[in-house]
Symmetry: C2
Subunit: 512 residues, 2 copies
Amino acid sequence: MTIQPVLIAGKWRDANASGSFRAENPATREALDEFPISTWADCDEALQAAAVAFHSRWTGDLPTDKRHDVSQFAAFLESFAARIEANKMAIVEMANRESGLPASPRLADNELPRTTGQLRQAAAAAREGTWALPTIDKANNIRSMLGPIGPVIVFGPNNFPLAFNSVAGGDFAAAIATGNPVIAKANTSHPGTTLLLAKEAQAAAEEVGLPPGWVQLIYRTRHEDGERLVADPRVGATGYTGSRNAGLKLKAAADKAGKPIYLELSSVNPVVILPGALEEKLEDIAGQFSTSCLMGAGQFCTNPGLVLLLAGETTERFLETVVGKFKAAPVGTLLSANVAKSLQQGIGFLIRAGAHTLVGGKAATATGYCHANTLLRASGQQFLDAPEALQTEAFGNASLVVVAEDLDEAERCLKHLEGNLTGCIYSHTGGADDAAYNRLAPQLRLKVGRLINDKMPTGVAVSPAMNHGGPYPATGHSGFTAVGIPASLRRFAALHCYDNVRAGRLPPQLRD
Amino acid sequence: MTIQPVLIAGKWRDANASGSFRAENPATREALDEFPISTWADCDEALQAAAVAFHSRWTGDLPTDKRHDVSQFAAFLESFAARIEANKMAIVEMANRESGLPASPRLADNELPRTTGQLRQAAAAAREGTWALPTIDKANNIRSMLGPIGPVIVFGPNNFPLAFNSVAGGDFAAAIATGNPVIAKANTSHPGTTLLLAKEAQAAAEEVGLPPGWVQLIYRTRHEDGERLVADPRVGATGYTGSRNAGLKLKAAADKAGKPIYLELSSVNPVVILPGALEEKLEDIAGQFSTSCLMGAGQFCTNPGLVLLLAGETTERFLETVVGKFKAAPVGTLLSANVAKSLQQGIGFLIRAGAHTLVGGKAATATGYCHANTLLRASGQQFLDAPEALQTEAFGNASLVVVAEDLDEAERCLKHLEGNLTGCIYSHTGGADDAAYNRLAPQLRLKVGRLINDKMPTGVAVSPAMNHGGPYPATGHSGFTAVGIPASLRRFAALHCYDNVRAGRLPPQLRD
């Protein structure tokens, strides 16, 4: 069987490989194409090509205006977006085959337009330029703006084969728009999709005349080579979305080398539902929660994994309703054997930590990888006794309900939360829960990146006001967002100041 | 002898001490006041008080508008500035005694007004609010802004007893203006000055009604307690300015805990002087360089520690001129015994790495701590053979000149530079050096935070366009600046997003 090629230094070529792996269709367990595991030689060549490309573009023998011209990056992003649309059928088909996610509406109608939309928004931000916070102090003749940081390594997650793809998603778009080459490390659950996207990216790069090696692709390395990669002197920064365990290893390596690394790691996305809200619209909220928890088999960074309720008869009715919905809902296909395995492990861990099963809890039997829709329950006191263990992320169609005795106990539970991407509070629309809200919301505010009212956390709009980030360990730095343009661009930038620099030598953006 | 008190939880009290140390007048070697070395018990109590203060202010039982009201922080900063001015004489006298820096003009006329100016600029930025990048997306009803990150630990450097003081300087002002309590760790070379400033800070905090423990002061801890401090779960972030060695230990501890730490570590601030500039104004540039290198005994973060020249007769004349000036210039007092010791070690290290002494090189004999004005020389090839060793920072009145054979070699030298705060190029005003500039400047751009033309790097204006930062290892993150308001505030902030949050619950800054 043919092993697929890597894209290094502008060429598609056989990898310098230490082995290979097969993609798999998680809905059928059918083996798909074969991809190489690159050795350090591939990583080194990619780093060298990225460094040469970066230096030729930013330090090369170009007139100042040409060197600082960002329209080439914008043109690349726009051409790439158009090429993805032109090849939509093939890309969606491959992503469906590799991820088990529905071709429509999920991939073709939601995720693909989101992907091209992000690429175009990043292009517009690059052209428009205010993302760089240009600042001119004429009196002192000092000027500054954010500028490129150097080659960016992007590790994409498994759960968005298009919109967070390492060679087409948000991190990629942000890194390119700020003027950096990208070395994409494919997620091994959708290497074929990444290959198709990289082909379009490379074609677009050639079309607009970016230096060879501006966009590169490898699929997999040994773990130690990944750690070496993010710490390499030729790297500017890294963007990583994925498991906490692997992410923290990369973070340790990057931190030690003084290289910025932006991580999106894990989050249980606490949802507090106050009694007045339940009195008002129990059925509605139960529906919203079940849909949010189970859609896409729950495989979202912002899946509501922890629900905090106050003890009472209404809460019991709410849970019965949710259990009914969880039983009735179809069981979704999980993204891979690994996801199925770690979902089962996560649920097992929560149960050993004291939670008991309201519904589900076991692997489901089907052709594809899947797990029964699962709802676990623990008391507030149990949570307070083992707050760390009971915040274990069970990535998939599972959620833990914590029932606190009273508001005091609920507040104590919130104080024990780790950093999360989102935190949500449902409250009575007439104000019956306002006192409770006013106690809990400020606590929750400091634990999450995005504070939500009266809706579920899934659905991350590509909005300039979005924060898809949050306090550690949800991410590596609570000041940055991975979604939302222009803010997400600032992750891959260095602050460049010009002091007394002669007018003709300034970037055009900083001239009087 | 009385041991001076620490300021913890709003009270001046005896430290829980494991020992003590004496301040020293570096100009006379006279022992000054005695200060405690705090145990972990002091650190723990300060952390707890800061956490309680922070939570009472941001999550306490206040109406929303009151909770988000930042005018109290602004009022504090303004009152503090006025109190520093009212106690100017005593503060300047103590800073002069502890640092050996001239009372006038340096401390009284430059550094103290800079300090109060920074406090007032930070207050104005807090009131004005655009530093927080408030962003409103009405269509999606998503809003975001930067907000406080939690208690900030500030480690101040030895070389600015006022303007970078841990309880009054730029990091302090930025952390307070973003709404965070500060635990100041005094620099041990000016604990008495820090004590005087902290008294005024505490009085101002009481005057405006900040919760007890918003401003706290300890003087010294064991190294392991410092590492524990920056990694503590109750901490939001840390600002550190000081030696690379100590800073990297703190960074490792903070990184491991996922706590942001902003470091300003070391920099040799390369200055390239091109041949045309020397032809044009050799004497002038020699004067500028000597003044910049020797003023304040060279104890500036942006001291020009590495000069890159092209071989030739004019360069030889330039060096002779500089040597004459170094011989003629008075020898300044160094800040402490430690500074004298590490300056001597740094010079010794450069010499062992191949540099030879043009002038100075030895400790000077005087009542105070001092070192002969020192100029070392190496060839471009020597630099390329040992680039890391020859970039050792010799903090003080010493500089290394590297003479490259030609432009190619000079460019190779620049490629081997570590990250620096500043990089400067002098070139002919008529354009005779433009080709050389165009080759070297883009290389230098990527290695420094502030690119300078035709003047020396010392003098860091408090300008909104300033970047007192740069690539690692000059600092810990090249996206941020330690000087310049409002940008420096963003270091101590988290991104807070509000999604579908009801209008009355939003911070006033994010309402329609």
